[in-house]
């Protein structure tokens, strides 16, 4: 992982990159999560089905963002932009659903 923590010094390699093995591990984790979400859907858990599916999807999304999209290795400004995007989406979802789900 030493390459991942290298500081952008030289111009040609001014970026943080994990080793390729990280991608294979993340890919394997994504496949396990896919199997789990399809497997869980075979059981009737009532309203829990939806929340479990959404939870697993969010876990997969986080893995993709952090590793495949390099957020984990990106400067704080990228973190801020990505987080700000989700913060505004959360406001949209929270206030709209607060209305519709309580009617």
């Amino acid at each position: 992982m030493s390459a991942a923590h290298e500081h952008p010094g030289s111009a040609a390699h001014g970026e943080h990159h994990p080793q390729a093995s990280v991608y294979y591990v993340v890919f394997a984790a994504l496949l396990v999560l896919l199997a789990v979400t399809v497997g869980v859907a075979q059981f009737d858990l009532g309203p829990l089905n939806f929340f479990v599916a959404a939870l697993i999807a969010t876990t997969k999304a986080l893995l993709i963002m952090l590793f495949f999209m390099h957020v984990r290795y990106s400067p704080p400004l990228i973190w801020l932009v990505a987080f700000a995007g989700f913060a505004w989406l959360a406001i949209l979802f929270a206030f709209t659903l607060a209305d519709y789900l309580t009617r």
Binding site: Y23, V38, I56, A82, G85, F86, W88, L92, L97
Partner: protein, 221 residues
């Protein structure tokens, strides 16, 4: 001042700054894309709350096997995309071209399976627009039409993003064959990768929301 090199635009101080600026710009674009699909997902949640029974009925008509295979195909294409970015940064031209072709190939398989599913929906009369014959029983007709409208709108927009992504990858392959995109110029591959992973990320939510919404096992699985 650093020595001027062809990969560095004159208004940037150095390659690192240029790279960070390009990446930031791509992320700002992706945030607008998050907002765009976010609104549709919100519409999905509201309508799902209004028509829980119809959404369950609708999701039972989806082909779970094909949806699972397509998710697998798309996740694999994200792996080949990540490896493309890795190869470009490491100036490994052969590996870059190989992984880009892999990504294109897997993206095309995804679209092929999606087209087959759309055709199946057409045959089953599950398309509630375009003046086509729409088969649904009267108490559930409106809710089912809403489900299928959202299905075609959201997966259709996702497929459109896939088509754009594949065209982008074909451009990258041409540039890679010409010897570009390597080392300091790999930011183009990096940003294209961000786009591809974003499209994958949207599908990660579309798949459970349309295919897995209701239990299929009926009690004991």
């Amino acid at each position: 001042m650093p020595a001027h090199d062809a990969a560095l635009a004159h208004h940037f101080h150095d390659a690192s700054q240029q790279r960070r600026a390009a990446e930031l710009g791509m992320w700002l674009f992706l945030v607008t894309e998050f907002m765009f699909f976010g609104g549709l997902f919100l519409a999905y949640l509201v309508y799902r709350h209004w028509y829980p029974k119809e959404f369950a009925l609708g999701s039972h008509t989806m082909d779970l096997a094909l949806g699972t295979i397509n998710t697998f195909v798309l996740l694999t294409s994200s792996l080949t995309m990540a490896l493309s970015v890795h190869a470009a940064a490491a100036s490994n031209r052969r590996m870059l071209i190989l992984c880009l072709w892999g990504t294109i190939f897997l993206g095309a398989i995804f679209l092929g399976i999606k087209a087959y599913e759309y055709h199946h929906k057409y045959v089953e009369h599950h398309i509630p627009f375009g003046g086509l014959e729409f088969h649904a029983q009267s108490p559930h007709r409106l809710g089912l039409a809403t489900f299928y409208n959202l299905y075609f709108l959201m997966t259709g927009l996702h497929a459109l993003h896939m088509v754009i992504g594949i065209v982008l990858m074909l451009v990258l392959v041409v540039l890679a064959y010409r010897g570009g995109l390597l080392g300091p110029r790999s930011i183009i591959v990096h940003n294209s990768g961000l786009y591809w992973h974003f499209v994958d990320l949207v599908w990660v939510y579309l798949f459970p929301f349309f295919y897995l919404i209701a239990a299929r096992g009926g009690g004991h699985g």
